[in-house]
Point group: C2
DNA sequence: CTGAAAGCGCTAACAG
DNA sequence: CTGTTAGCGCTTTCAG
């Protein structure tokens, strides 16, 4: 079997507790003793058993990231930021894909609790019921949400300023002269996307000559973009500008529009949200709202670690990241 | 504190060992007793502490996935397949990004060992030295490699048939009449990519009128594709066809070619490898070699679980997934 | 079928 | 500064 702290103790002629102290670099150990123990440990290729340590300390030194789907480039980037931050702090990151399925999400969280993860970073299914919120809080593990899924006082949240981003998109299209505008977005009650829609609608309503956009809900992925664009074309063929709630949806929209013989941006302008790497290389290059995905993942872990460090209940912390418009080639001035 | 097996035992008026047996559904417990215990456990919202269980059983019920970078859509898809398979078997998946840095990879594996993960699924830095192979084997944890990084007898591997895929690309370009051909690929000694290059070169060498392609090495990502294409244009401006070792690189190649005023596919044909979702929607739609990414991740976990289930050393298992060419619009017949 | 007891590997008081 | 002693929560012999 693997060699344990006892082996090291026996071999160095001291007690296990002394080995433990020496290894954990705590004070209260004679420098000479420590060096000796460390040398023996090294010679024996001793590797501490973190499971055992976790059992007594009650902390597992691992965090969990629950996203809807890691294949979404947005989450992949968030995951990378989160993992880098976790690695830097010597924490592990457990990956979970919830598909925004409430039941699956709950099962994940329960399982993570049994494993005693020290914190959960989660893109939650939106609109958590009061009961669900209580259930999650009840686990007593720090949770940082990547979206607004619960009352502000329930959990810490960290996200881009989705509302402002939506407004940016609205103002931009309006200024380009568009008046027949549509917003194609994800499921209803999807925290972040709901905020984007609100900012978008508001900015258009507050314009000098108010406009009321058509809003269609569907799946937040490439296929969803295709389907929504098709529906839109059937319903409102005179639309001149489309705000897609994510770049992946925007790609689907572009594809559907092209298949329908519409030129982009000459016939219809398209603006996305996320600024994923590929948005620069599709054709036409996508104008979109940039949000700092990597930084969001990174910052979320930092908050989580801070929360996990302190005692139980801290006041939730909310952090909003700035967004900005990246102008490329998918939008054009509308001249009727 | 959380409620433990002791609480359940006390409350149900039996011994903890009985509770343990009842909970784990083993035989040797009176049906009535089990039901009673289960009911109490449920009422108390008892959740077993898996850390404690792990300490005694020596198994953590978690696996690790070490990839170079989860932002690479290829790995995101592999990760999803792996996580789904792990979830189905009630295992957790720990995510690690190695950046193909040998030292970082080693640190990850060591840390994972300390956590007693039951298996590691890894896209290893290629060309592991004999010493590194021994080191990894020495940990005694099942490892499944996503690439050829070590002698066949060292670890189990699972991957697409990269060699055959490379050959497919070579034959295709040759049949289209191309004779000035280049292959832009990742770092030297990158397991999978090396195989692709070999198949490609061989197919061209075995053609009726053999061709020797130019081969350039760079980074395996969008930026790498851009840089290599620029270099190629300077070195061999008369190239008529390019095989990029991954779709991400192909995207970079397309971008660089367009920026240089070359039309695709009229002036130069481009073929990729992976068939990531986005390859269908870039412009022009990318002709590429498809490999089953999700299935690879899924199958890898299944092998890992099988390995973890049995005793220590099993004969390594090797599995190769078939590939096929997906013809889209980025390649054209060459007529000189 | 069930209880008692040992112990997984480690940390954390508490003495000395 | 160091050793002794309890456990952390659970599984697993071994008796009964």
């Amino acid at each position: 079997m693997a060699i344990t702290i006892k082996d090291v103790a026996r071999e160095s002629g001291v007690n296990v507790s002394t080995v433990s102290r020496a290894l954990n670099g705590e004070y209260g150990v004679h420098a000479g003793t420590r060096e000796h123990v460390l040398a023996i440990a090294k010679r024996l290729h001793y590797r501490p058993n973190r499971v055992a340590r976790g059992l007594v300390t009650g902390r597992s030194h691992s965090l969990a990231l629950v996203v809807s789907d890691i294949r979404n480039p947005f989450f992949a980037e968030v995951a990378r930021g989160a993992e880098d931050a976790a690695y830097a702090a010597d924490y592990d990151l457990v990956l979970c894909n919830s598909d925004l399925d409430a039941e699956k999400q709950l099962r994940y969280v329960q399982s993570l609790m049994e494993k005693r993860v020290d914190g959960i970073l989660m893109n939650s299914v939106a609109a958590l019921s009061k009961k669900q919120v209580e259930q999650l809080s009840g686990f007593g593990v720090p949770i940082v949400l990547l979206n607004r899924a619960a009352p502000r006082n329930a959990f810490s949240t960290i996200s881009a300023d989705n509302d402002a981003g939506g407004a940016l998109a609205g103002e931009y299209l309006w200024k380009l002269g568009h008046r027949k505008i549509a917003h194609l977005t994800g499921p209803r009650h999807h925290g972040n996307m709901t905020d984007r829609a609100e900012g978008f609608v508001r900015s258009l309503a507050e314009a000098r000559k108010p406009v009321k956009p058509v809003i269609l809900h569907g799946k937040n992925n490439f296929q969803g973009g295709v389907e929504l664009a098709d529906r839109l074309l059937a319903l409102h063929p005179d639309t001149t500008a489309i705000f897609a709630a994510s770049d992946m949806m925007a790609f689907g929209v572009i594809r559907a529009l092209m298949d329908a013989g519409r030129r982009i941006p000459e016939d219809v302008s398209v603006i996305g949200f996320d600024n994923v790497e590929l948005s620069a290389i599709v054709n036409p290059p996508l104008t979109t709202i940039h949000q700092p995905r990597y930084e969001i993942g990174q910052a979320a872990v930092e908050i989580l670690l801070r929360l996990a460090g302190r005692g139980e209940h801290q006041a939730p912390e909310h952090r909003l990241f700035g967004v900005h418009l990246v102008e490329r080639k998918s939008c054009l001035e509308h001249t009727s």
